[in-house]
Structure formats: structure tokens, C-alpha cells
Symmetry: C2
Subunit: 359 residues, 2 copies
Amino acid sequence: MPRSSHTSGRPTLSKVAEAAGVSISTASLVFSGSGPVSERTRRRVLDAASHLGYAGPDPVARSLRQGRSGIIGVLIGERLLHAFRDPVAVALLDGLTEELAPAGFGLLLLSGSAGRVGPMPAQVDSAPLDAVVFASCGAEDESALASLRRRDVPVVGVEGPREADVPLVDIDNHGASVALVEHLLSLGHRKIEVVTLPLRLGGHRGWLHRSRRSVEGFANCVDRLRGVEDALGRGVTAWEAASGLVEEGWRGGHELLAVADSERPTAVVAQSDLLAVGVVQAARELGLRVPEDLSVVGFDGIDTPWLSPLRLTTVEQPMTEKGRVAGRMLRESLTGVRPDDVQLPTSFRVGTSSGPAPA
Amino acid sequence: MPRSSHTSGRPTLSKVAEAAGVSISTASLVFSGSGPVSERTRRRVLDAASHLGYAGPDPVARSLRQGRSGIIGVLIGERLLHAFRDPVAVALLDGLTEELAPAGFGLLLLSGSAGRVGPMPAQVDSAPLDAVVFASCGAEDESALASLRRRDVPVVGVEGPREADVPLVDIDNHGASVALVEHLLSLGHRKIEVVTLPLRLGGHRGWLHRSRRSVEGFANCVDRLRGVEDALGRGVTAWEAASGLVEEGWRGGHELLAVADSERPTAVVAQSDLLAVGVVQAARELGLRVPEDLSVVGFDGIDTPWLSPLRLTTVEQPMTEKGRVAGRMLRESLTGVRPDDVQLPTSFRVGTSSGPAPA
DNA sequence: TTGAAAGCGCTAACAC
DNA sequence: GTGTTAGCGCTTTCAA
């Protein structure tokens, strides 16, 4: 029997106990299942409960008593609209769910919103969080991190932030990028340019000439860029995208490729597969064949069936597994143990989007 | 009683009050800001707080006292991996955030996970939810709905479920589909076929011959299909995709188009723009020009820059606005008022993916 | 302007 | 097996 107003007389455990003629604690035992109760008492309590329309213990009261809420915050940093168009971010969430939902935890989104960078401080401050995972690798979220520290909420990071007290699940972004570039070098490419992921929040896009000296930002993007430069032994021309999405890659592709033949790179390193797809499309629009006229490599190893039969040369990273591992680390950190950092393996994959440098 | 270790020595309001030499209730007033406190007392309390490292009132205790948690559940029904690759779902979340985050609410994901359809019941039962929005239009989530009813948690639906006690934000899926088909009819098309969204959870795909008589499933898909049939005045051949994504459209496109010329439709109605993109790509692979040999229409009105310069003929729906409206309805339902249903407008948009039927 | 007291609804240690 | 009791940390009357 649904009641009309959720504020009025919803039955409580004590009412159920009373109706069943047992003590509150006995009734509690029936619902928590943690303790011996005679079958007969059990029935009486359950009957009373269903009679009164009691739907089980109030989660908030239980949380207060037990000192945990069952809620894990996911710190996103930007609008969901942007964050979730990235398959890597989504896979991360999926992996987290896989590990945490069966353990009774729910994911609370701590995201930015139209017109602001980073989550609402009020939310970070006042949500009943057992722990938080930093899903963007946000150096920008200093204030959120500070708040969580003060509240003693354990934090786990994915590819960032690089802070002494934040256990990290990571991949070897630098090494993987070196592998990509060495592949291109071995194919004879010398004019190699880059389309980067956003280096920080805020939707900025533009050139990063000779980035070597000055670039700072999200750890993963910077590491990937450094990997390229270290393999090349020099600074590299790069265009920073405003997001990791296809349309930005398309834009970046046009920026890099719509120039005189002699200026044009023969290979483009895109920091995500989605960006790479955009670059390929831009190249085709400009009449360049991939890989004959231009090699394009990506990062992530997502499915890109719509490029078919072209298959990206890329670095496969275990996207969902990152989430699972982060989930495990979160659970561990709830026991009071500081989890060890984890570095997951990536694997270089040769596709058909890269080929010998044109003569 | 031992509390979980990381919370063990955290200062409480009463410790702060003691250190400041005031009563607990006065200290509370300082933090809630709701009541007159002398500037001097205020300072003393704040100093004591920062001295002790007190980070503000415990959210759980506050929730218990106030009877609300500040948490809105978002019922997803399937794996995030699938749900969030749909821009429509993501935009919905974005709109919800926009409306709810500033009001201090957080979004808790109630999603499926690997190997299960629908959210974990334990989560729906025991999360501290103030209200829930059904973001899939899930007829499948009967059990979740029943549980929420018993707990007296207000529910708002987006395009479903169609239940008497669930206020809905909706669009005219039927009418919009009629408009699409009338457009095609006016261009001379007679052989029109459909690629549908999934009619229910579970990743099934396959033919829906002469669907008119028998199809049931998610309200929005069924409505769109019925719209096509009503405009046509007959049942229609349709292929049900396993998701609303590009690759499924591509698959469906191959199914519909890789047949003898005489069998092939001259127009395909895809139930989402992403599906439509896949159909276009399949058509091109089969050597069909769009729109000369084949017209393709979509639904949603998302950006599809990578189809450029082709522009989809589609129905634009206010994706983010749906979320905002749902957010408002949720807030209203928290006041105990049952919000009125809302139907948002859509607009038919002629692009370049549709043209006269081939002779 | 401040303080005392009464719970919010529940769990768990302990006694019977 | 079951009941008693003591809070979890806070907000909110109500009095002073």
C-alpha cells in the first residue's frame, strides 16, 4: 500500500517491532540477517512489516550507525556532456561499477556543469562519501582534493593526480608513445606532428609549437607528448584539441594538413583513437590517402568499425580493467590500508593506418 | 563500538563546541548559518574548528536529522558502457546535473553491470535516495519501480515507464516519425524500411518483419515505429539494432541494403542519428550514393560532423532540456507535489541525406 | 544570543 | 533467542 506523502508517517523499525510484539533489536536482526532469530519470530516480524508497508531499514540511519554510506564519489571535473563522450571514461565507469556494485556501493557523480570547471564544492563537501575516485586526471581539482583530505575521505586516482597521498592506477603513457613514434621512424617518417588531448580543463584549443620546453597539464597528455619528443629527440609541433572527440581530431587534422605539401607532416600522432579517426577523415577530405600519403596513429584501442576496412595503428590500453582495479583499490582503502600504485600493461598494435613515409 | 578506522578520531561538532567553550547547538548554528550568532562566538567556533581540523557537519548525520540525503538516483538499466555511448542519454544527465547540482543534489548511478540487466536490487533498496529518475524508458524495471514505491521514493520518468504514478517528460515520438515518413513519401519513396533502437534491454538484434501486429517494448521505440507505420498505412519491415550506436546502424544497413536491387529500399528510417550514420556508411560501402540512390533519415539532431558535408535529415529533440525539465520535476516532487507531465517540442529538419526516390 | 534537551532510525555490545 | 541500553552526529524546538 503506497502512502501518499513521504514525509508523514512512514513506518519505522520500532513500529514494526511493536506490531510484531518483539523488541526493536530483534526486529533489526531479522532485517540485517546477522544473528540468530527463531523462524517463528522472523515470520511475525516480516508479516508485521509487510502489513505496515515497511520497506526495510532506513539507509541513512543505518549509515549513521555503521559509519559508512555505501557511496563512492566519481570526480569528473567537466560536464558530463564532454566527459562521457569519451569511451575511455565510460569504460572506466563501467569497470568501477563491475567491481563496486556487487559490493553494495553506488557511484555518485561529482561533475562540472554548464559554466563551471570542476564539481560544485558544496557537493564534494556535503555528500555522504565513503571514498572518491579521481576519474579525470585533474591537476585542476586541488580544491576538491583539499576538501576530501580534510574530511578524511580516501581518494584513488586514475592517471592522476600525482600527489603523495593519492594511490594511482596508471599506464605507461610515455613508453607507449615512444613505441608509436619508433614505429613511425622505422617506416621512414621524419615529419611527425601531434594532436593532443586537452592539457587542462576548460575547452581551450590551439597550437603548441615546440612544446618541449613549456608544456604542463594533465599527466597523461603530457606524458604522451614527452614520449613523442623523447623518441624524436626534439620538440614537436602539436595542436591541442578541446576534447578527445572525433570532431576535434577532424579540426586538428585540418590545421595540421591543410598546408603546402612541403610543410605537411607525413605522420600524425593523435593522443586518442577518436582524435585519430577525425584526423583520418580530415585527411581524406583533403585528398590524402591513409596510409599512402599520411600515416595516422592513435591511442586507446577502441573499436572504430566505421573506419573499416582501415584499422588504426594504436596502443591498446585496458580501459575497463582500469576501472576494476580502481574499484578494488577503493575497497582496499576503505579498510584503512593505503593501496599500492598499480601500473597496467598496454600493447602496441600495428594496423593499416600507418605505412612507409611517402617518397 | 569500533567505527571504520579512517573515521575513528575525526572531530565532531560537540568537540568543536567544547573547545570553543560554547554549546553544541550554538556551534551548529555557526555552520548551518541559520540563526543569530554573535560575531565573537562565530569566530571562536570557527577557530576551534580549523584548529581541530573539523571539516563541517557530517552529511549522514545531517541527512538523518533533516530527512533528506541530497541524492537523486538515475536508473540506467544497462551497462554504462552501452548507455553512455548514446549522446542522448549523456545529454540527459548533463541537463539533470545543470538543474540539480546547484540545488545541492548529486546523481547516483543505478545501472546494470556485466552480466545483468537492470540495477542491483540491493542498491535500489538501500541507497539513501531522495528521488529517482528513470533514464532508460524501462518497462523492464518493474521490480525497481515496485521497490521505490514501497519506500515512497518519488519517481520521474523520461519517455517512460508509462505508469499512472510516474510523471513523465516526453516528446512526440509518434508525430515526429510521421513527419519524417511524410517527407519521404513526398519525395516519391515507397520502399521504406526501418532500423529500430533496441525494443528492450538485453542486446538482442534481428528482423521485425511486418512489425505492425506484434511489437512491444520501450515506449519511445514503439511509438516511432508506429509513427512510420501509420504514415505508411501498413506494417513495415524493420531490423532491430542491439544498441543505438553507429556500428549497429552499419550492421543494420548491411542487412537492409545488401540485397538484390529490386528488393532494396530506397529510403531507410533510422531511429537515431547514430544509427543513421552507420546506415550511410554501410550504403557507401555497398556503392550506394546518399541521397541519390538511398535516402536516410535519423532522429535526435545530434552533431554528425564526420559525415560532413552530408547533413542528416532528422528530427531534432531537446536532449539537454529533457534533463533540465526532469530535474525540475524531481525537485517539485520532493515538495510532495506530483508534477504534471511535460511534452517537449521537436522539430523536423531537412538535411541532405534525403532526396527524390531514384527512378 | 545562547543553552538544554529531545530525538532522527537504526545497530551492536552485552546481559539474560 | 531475545531484550536492554547506549549511542552514531547532528538540527531544532523551546526556554532562559
